[in-house]
Structures are given as structure tokens and as C-alpha cells.
Symmetry: C2
Subunit: 203 residues, 2 copies
Amino acid sequence: MISGFSGAGKGTLVKRLLSSYDSYALSVSMTTRSPREGERDGVEYFFADREQFEKKIREDGFIEYACYCDNYYGTPKDYVEEQLNAGKDVILEIEIQGALKVKQQFPESLLLFVTPPSAVELKRRLLGRGTESQEVIAKRLARAVVESNGIEAYDYVVVNDDLDACVAEIHQLVNAARRAPVRSGAFIRRIREELKELGNEGN
Amino acid sequence: MISGFSGAGKGTLVKRLLSSYDSYALSVSMTTRSPREGERDGVEYFFADREQFEKKIREDGFIEYACYCDNYYGTPKDYVEEQLNAGKDVILEIEIQGALKVKQQFPESLLLFVTPPSAVELKRRLLGRGTESQEVIAKRLARAVVESNGIEAYDYVVVNDDLDACVAEIHQLVNAARRAPVRSGAFIRRIREELKELGNEGN
């Protein structure tokens, strides 16, 4: 899961991860927010109205969903399960509330928090995007203050300064994380069993 | 901190880490156990008798110490602090009890657990060492069963199959671990403060 301040460059990072390595699959979220310029239904998001979204909630069709800036965002269940079964690392670009809900259900999932090198740089990127009103930018900065209080819940904090370096680093972190005990359960169980058997032979 | 089953190859890995990268310094432990063939005082260990060791305990001269297989093992404080202040990553080759004690005092420290690819391979290596009696080997295998129950407390489990690959992987894990929030405290505090300041400017 990739979270981070709005304007940290998560979207670009995710696109580059997908094009650079074939081990990833992208979970496309569903949202009730309006499409931004150039966003296509089923690519950046599945766009839905509140009624459609709430129907899918009732059908238990989301791994998680949350309301953020007055819009619903959710992760449809079926595609994620399909890709995990195919051995892919599924990327969720997800805000912090959702990330923590998924982590509860899937303790082996990895939480990455992406941040620009400074708050000034964050504001510069939000302004540079040119698609958001001043009011929305102020709202996003205020939200960033709140989100920054959740950073400690993440596995890794990644500074997105140089894009290429950041993509490579995220891939390294994903691989490093495989060595954490929570993701090495099968190996740990096997060697424990083997050790017990060897110990019994010695008696 | 590098822990792992006796016979996992920790000593060789540590030597290779020190010779391959200049960012590491090795903490030399003090022990009351007898030197093995070829071990030199102040290099593999500081060798001491029980009386000397217990005097140093009373003087609060250890970060941690523990009793293992009827011998004391401890980490003298002064050298570690000196090397940390010089910006080095200090390696402690340390058994599991000691590792957990150090982690309590230094939450930013990293716990690596080294294991051979299988229990059979572990026994093969212990036999191949040729310096241990059958009784000691049986004791170490029994100990490994107990130690395997502590693996979940470690940050990473590293399989030492190919030595070169394992050394490179450990170095990558050390660098990955710097991105964990517990080791990125200064950055997190700074960006939080900056965000608050920017938010206040907006009001």
C-alpha cells in the first residue's frame, strides 16, 4: 500500500513501478469524486455515484472503503484476490484510514508512506498541478498535518525527491520487507518443525 | 544486531560485512567461555574470568550481558558509544536474550536473525566445524529449537545459503531499515513542524 500526502507524487511513482517491474499489479480504486482532467474510468479510478458505491458496500464488495474530503474511496475485493493468487504484488494507492484497515485484515501487507523532501516542496507541487482551487489546496495541507501524525504506523517512509531513485528504492523496500518474520511465516514454520524432528532423533 | 542459530555462519558473515563496506564497526563481546582454536583476545572476544566479568557488571560497563551455556557473554558499553558517535553502524553478534535487551534500550537498533536454509544443513555445518563434541552439538540443536521461538521478535530473517548473496542482502536490509519510522524520527519531526507552520500561514 502506498499512502502519502496529496501532492507527494504517489500516482507517478505507481505508474513507474508498474512499467519498470512486472511483479506488480495495480488495484484500481472506486471513488465518488469527479474525474480530473485526463482521468479515465477503470484506469485511474472506477468512477461511481454515491448510490452505486453504497450498493457495493452493502454487497461486501470492498476490502476497505472510507470517506475523505466528502467523497467515498474504496478497494474492490475481487481484482486484488485474483492478482494475489497469480503471485503478483498488488499495489493499493490508498489513504491512511484505508491502509490501516487493510493492514488489520492482511498483516503481511506493506505500508509505504511517500513524502516530498519538505512541506514547502509539497505546497509547490500542489500549486504546480494547477487543477485544484486554493480552497482545496488549503484543505489538503491541513489534511497533511493530520496524516503526518499517522506516519509511525507505516513500515517505511520514502522521500520522493528524485523520481528514478525513489522508484528503485520502493522496489528494494518491497523486497527487503519479504524478510520480515510476518512475511516469512512458511519458512519459519518449516525450520521449526525440522529442528524439532532433528532434536527428537538425537534422544 | 546479528543473531541466529549456532552454526548459521554469523561469524563469517560479519567478517565479510566489515571487509566489504566501510560503514560498519564491530562490537567485540566479552565472554568467560574458553577460546576456540585460533581465537584471539580482543579480536573474536575479550576473554575474561568470572571474577573480572562480574566486576564489570557491577561497574555498569555492559549494554547487556547474559549467561548462555554456563558462560557469561556481554557487550562492553564504551566502544559501541564511541563508534555510534563516529557515525558507524555498529554490529553486535549477540544471542537472542541480549538482542532483546539492547532493542529495549535502543529501539532504533536492527535485529537480524541468520539461519541456514534448513535444519539438516545446520547440523551438517555444526559437524563440519569439527571443534565441538557430540554433546555440545546436541545442546546447540536443542537450543536452536528454543531460539526458533524467538524469531518473530526480529526485524528480518536472513537465509545464509550463498555467502556473497547473503552479505549483499544484509547490507540492503540495513539500508532499507533506515526508512522505518523508528529510524526516521528527525525527518518526520521536521516535516510535521513545517506542515504546521505552512498551515498557520494559510489562516
